[in-house]
């Protein structure tokens, strides 16, 4: 028995090291995306349509933003997935390590109808948009919130929560309020320090943020618009603010083709399909996110709402888009300063 165990162990050791794609994945297009509603929506809206059109099955590799980045690094050169959905600034890290292939725009005819802002780099094409904005529960906060500057009101002391894993949004807003921007973020430091007494908690995940809102522990949050709409669907009466003084900070989740994939053409066909007017309309409806195709339509109730941009002027005026490269480069310094001066 022990000898057999030793033989099995030795055989296992003799297997080639490195990631090996499962056999069934070799005939399918493999898409890396966040789990839960994100994966379900991408599968239902894009995946099924892609399979119906091409006959090629679509499989999914799900995980958190950084987990998937770590996996992609390990599999560099022979990727386990063909397409990756990720945030635009984290996509910059993939690009820095040569993990994405340049997009062949000739094979993305639907990209012509996409908003200029959606093409984040020659490697990254936006799939949908949202904003980080103020979200609050009017049943627990009597005073109406209409501006970013309202967060500094004494009446909101001990009521606000915000993400600590990525303080980019509030740091940028504080800088904008002091005449700076994400590159000159230091201008907003003193203003941000003045916000400290108002912050009751920081969250590391969307789930924590939603729990804080549901339980009323933090009835005012700087939150992802998509998550706020999700809370509304669950019956939590939250209000999304379209700030009057400075716009919300836009997030664009992007699609990219992995460098080294043997199914680059299929991957590009998938991305092109995702950019089509019909699929963009369905994605906007399902995710409550903004479409990147200007020809897509959204339900009347969502037109003009935070994170939904339908015209070039809406993209320009109703959202602030961070420079992805500056954001990716500054994020470590932002987090360190934020943790030392605001969190502690």
């Amino acid at each position: 028995m022990l000898a057999r165990l030793a033989v099995v162990t030795l055989l296992a050791l003799c297997l080639p090291f490195g990631p090996v794609a499962p056999a069934h994945a070799q005939n399918s297009l493999v898409v890396s995306v966040w789990g839960g509603n994100w994966k379900d929506t991408v599968d239902r809206v894009i995946g099924k349509a892609f399979t119906a059109k091409t006959g090629m099955p679509v499989e999914f590799e799900v995980g958190g933003t950084i987990d998937r980045l770590a996996k992609a690094r390990v599999a560099k050169g022979s990727p386990l997935v063909d397409i990756t959905f990720t945030t635009s600034h984290v996509g910059r890290l993939y690009v820095s390590d040569g993990l994405f292939a340049p997009l062949d725009m000739a094979k993305l005819p639907n990209a012509k109808a996409a908003a200029r802002e959606a093409l984040r780099s020659e490697y990254q094409m936006g799939a949908w948009s949202y904003v980080y904005t103020i979200v609050y529960r009017p049943d627990l906060v009597k005073e109406e919130i209409t501006r970013w500057s309202d967060l500094w009101k004494p009446s909101l002391k001990g009521k606000i929560a915000m993400p600590d894993f990525d303080p980019s949004h509030i740091i940028t807003i504080a800088a904008l309020m002091e005449g700076g921007n994400e590159a000159t973020w230091q201008k907003g430091q003193e203003r941000l320090k003045a916000l400290k007494p108002s912050i009751v908690a920081f969250f590391s995940t969307d789930a924590q943020s939603q729990d804080l809102m549901k339980t009323g522990q933090a009835p005012v949050q700087v939150m992802l618009s998509v998550n706020a709409y999700h809370l509304q669907e669950q019956g939590i009466a939250v209000k999304l603010v379209q700030p009057k003084d400075y716009p919300g900070v836009v997030g664009i989740d992007c699609m990219s083709v992995m460098a080294g994939t043997k199914k680059a053409d299929a991957a590009l066909a998938f991305i092109d399909l995702a950019l089509s007017k019909e699929i963009q309309t369905e994605l906007a409806k399902a995710l409550k996110a903004g479409p990147v195709n200007g020809g897509a339509t959204v339900p009347a109730a969502f037109q003009g709402q935070p994170g939904i941009f339908l015209t070039p002027s809406e993209w320009k005026e109703r959202g602030y888009i961070l420079n992805d490269e500056v954001r990716a480069r500054n994020l470590p310094a932002w987090r360190e300063w934020f943790t030392a001066n605001i969190v502690k």
């Binding site: 022990l2 000898a3 030793a6 162990t9 050791l13 950084i66 980045l69 690094r73 910059r92 890290l93 993939y94 820095s96 390590d97 929560a161 600590d164 894993f165 990525d166 009751v200 908690a201 920081f202 969250f203 590391s204 924590q208 729990d211 339980t215 009323g216 522990q217 490269e325 990716a328 480069r329 500054n330 994020l331 470590p332 310094a333 987090r335 360190e336 943790t339 030392a340 969190v343 502690k344």
Partner: protein, 264 residues
């Protein structure tokens, strides 16, 4: 015999490979905004010597010590009752109560504490959720079942004859406990304390959920550095420093255990 050692050698080899990767990353230059690393540097180690990071180490040590002390005090009476009760029914009921948390999982238990500590079930006179106090409560609750089982095992090995002999010679129950039971249960106290202290040093989920981002222990800082700041070299340096501290503390605790064993 050599074949029997093979699994152990394999485990050691995997750990050694992981540690060498950690060591390699810790001396590579971090390039902000890129996954590429630069040349060799010690900047990652000087970087983590700031007040912010050393503060997290200090907070971890204080919370671990406080958790160990409170867990011991809260667990001893339960363990004593478990070991000394003559009623099989009481022993079974206590065992079920002690073991029940093992079946719920750390995340579920901690989420329950979020509700209890967050003024939604009870109104607390002082803020509990997202404070070190709240994290301490969660850590003590998490550690108690293990401490109770270890203490109960140690106490059950003490022959009740010693306690009866002390009592027959006129010692009060408190004196019997102080002079006989407590010293004889010292090996259980030390081993339980070492285990609780060691795993509290690496606690992650409890401070993450009950600390609300304000209470950072070592594991949370490593995660923040590596996964949120993308500073893998910095995270590796901090993890290595934490590993050295943990090994030093455990070596000290090991000596303490040896002394306690000799004393018993």
């Amino acid at each position: 015999m050599r074949l029997l050692l093979a699994p152990a050698v394999l485990v050691v080899a995997v750990f050694a490979a992981a540690l060498s990767a950690l060591l390699r990353y810790s001396v590579l230059e971090f390039v902000p905004g890129s996954l590429q690393t630069g040349g060799l540097t010690v900047a990652n180690f000087t970087g983590i010597m700031s007040r912010q990071y050393l503060g997290a180490v200090w907070d971890t040590l204080v919370l671990s010590a406080a958790t160990t002390a409170l867990t011991l005090v809260a667990s001893y009476p339960v363990a004593y009752a478990l070991a000394r009760t003559h009623s099989a029914r009481v022993r079974s009921a206590l065992l079920v109560l002690v073991l029940a948390p093992f079946f719920t999982g750390a995340i579920v238990r901690t989420y329950a504490w979020v509700l209890v500590l967050g003024n939604t079930v009870v109104t607390w006179p002082v803020p509990m959720l997202f404070t070190p106090r709240g994290v301490l409560v969660g850590l003590v609750h998490f550690s108690m079942p293990t401490m109770i089982l270890l203490l109960a095992a140690a106490i059950s090995h003490i022959d009740p004859v010693y306690e009866r002999a002390a009592a027959s010679l006129g010692a009060s129950p408190a004196r019997v406990f102080r002079r006989v039971t407590l010293p004889l249960s010292l090996p259980g106290i030390v081993s339980g304390s070492v285990i609780v202290f060691a795993w509290t040093l690496s606690a992650f989920a409890t401070p993450e959920l009950l600390g609300g981002g304000r209470v950072k222990m070592i594991a949370n800082v490593v995660r923040d550095l590596a996964l949120d700041s993308f500073n893998w070299p910095g995270g590796a340096a901090f993890a290595l420093m934490a590993l050295v501290i943990t090994l030093a503390l455990l070596a000290g605790a090991g000596k303490l255990t040896a002394v306690a064993d000799r004393g018993a």
